[in-house]
Amino acid sequence: MENSYEETIDKRRVHLRPDTLRDPAPASLHLLPCEVPVNRPTPVGRFFTPAIRMGRDGLEASFRGRSLRGEEVVVPPGFVGYVVTEEKAEVLMGKQDDHERQEQELLEPPEALERDCDRFMGATASFSSFTVWGLESIPGPDAKLRGALSWPSLAAAIHAQVPED
């Protein structure tokens, strides 16, 4: 049954709830130049943000004994930043074993917009800028992130309709 389980997962659509995009609370985001291999609440406001100083060429802070230099980065024009998380599955699905779910798959055509087995995500916060940090030195205009942030305007050109002859 292992394979069929994987197929079931494959067919489950993941919805992004549009109404959550409307007015999520603003979030404060920092992109750190180090790996923190956990995902969980952490007292950022107690240990990190209070120590941020405005230095001569940008923001200064320290994390795990290393000196960080940072700067504010705004999201590309026409875009909004969102923090997206998955809604808790049990609330949505009730208790359904895989077998029942598969039967449901068979009953519901792929054209159906929402199926009971689907999963849902929503925006929990939004942002229009964030702080990017470099180790010892400021990320600056050559930071790879800067290039990435110009992607939307390049993508727009790639995907725009071509002019007629």
Partner: protein, 309 residues
């Protein structure tokens, strides 16, 4: 299937950082549902790739992920590993349709005119039928097909000649954007940042054409990319500067791949993917050149789709 690196203790929540077009927010007033992540065949690789589909407009978005090694997020009072930044940008659906038109042409139906709903069929990615809901398909298809109308039903056949002409226009408009954005396209600096501080050290048109060709090649099969190169009369570059860096240096170059579902954005397979996945021509070329600044070439959705026909 533990969701978090810290073992799923209940407090662990994956937070995905996204940049979405602002107008989705305005549309959201009108709709209660209608934004769906779906897996479709990537028009370049044929692999399953996650796209965002807006059922209401309707419109298709691709998702690119920016990832640099050794990064993490602080999001309010929490930490999120990986430091990924997801971009959802509108994609020209004709690239995805082209994948099916070429396939149909190559397979048993060579030379046959077929209705679109018989061309866009896929056991592996059944959501491909959503593509048929997109607006103005007939107009789009004129760029890449010959068509016939019988009893008010349209039949299509892939035309390589028309497709190359269409792709040539795509290259032109991409070149214009590269110039506007002052992207440094010179081969000499190709392994440095994709967008290096507005310094354009080369204004040679050939460099722009090659760079734009590289960007467009991410959306078409390899064979067509080679044909396009000839069509554009691109000279064979020296081996060391074979392919433009395109945004591969920044954004993960395999467009989003999902083994299971896209919420496993940050699977533990991360570090192994690079080894496992087939490198594209551009990646191979990059592998040969200066590797500094290339560290973000990582796939992100785990290994590639296991079931291949």
């Amino acid at each position: 299937m533990a969701r978090g690196a810290d073992g799923g203790d209940g407090a662990s929540v994956w937070q995905h950082v996204f940049l979405l077009p602002e107008y989705l927010k305005d549309d959201s007033k009108k709709m209660k549902s209608g934004l769906v992540f779906v897996k479709l065949a990537n028009p370049c690789s044929g692999e399953g790739t996650i796209y965002l589909f807006n059922m209401c407009l309707p419109q298709l978005f691709e998702i690119k992920v920016f990832k640099e090694k050794n990064h993490s997020w602080f999001i309010n009072e929490s930490v999120q590993s990986g430091g990924l930044l997801h971009f959802a940008t509108p994609v020209d659906p004709l690239f995805l349709l082209l994948h099916y038109l070429i396939k149909a042409d190559k397979e048993s139906f060579q030379g046959k005119f077929q209705p679109l709903d018989q061309v866009v069929m896929d056991d592996m990615f059944p959501d491909c039928i959503l593509l048929l809901k997109l607006p103005e398909l007939e107009k789009l298809l004129q760029h890449v097909t010959e068509e016939k109308e019988v009893d008010k039903k349209k039949y299509y056949k892939y035309s390589k000649e028309k497709t190359l002409k269409w792709l040539g226009k795509k290259v032109n408009q991409t070149m214009a954007a590269l110039k506007t954005n002052k992207v440094n396209v010179s081969a000499r600096v190709q392994s440095t940042a994709f967008f290096s501080g507005g310094q354009v050290s080369s204004d040679k048109d050939e460099d722009y054409v090659r760079y734009a060709h590289g960007l467009i090649s991410d959306y078409i099969p390899k064979q067509l990319s080679d044909d396009l190169s000839k069509y554009l009369k691109l000279p064979e570059p020296p081996a060391s500067v074979r392919n433009p860096p395109s945004k591969k240096a920044k954004l993960s170059d395999e467009p989003v791949m999902a083994k299971e579902d896209y919420t496993k954005f940050n699977s533990k397979d991360f570090k192994t993917v690079k080894k496992n996945s087939k490198m594209t021509a551009a990646q191979k070329a990059l592998a040969k050149v200066d590797k500094s600044g290339m560290k973000s070439i990582d796939s992100f959705f785990g290994t590639k789709h296991v079931k291949k026909k």
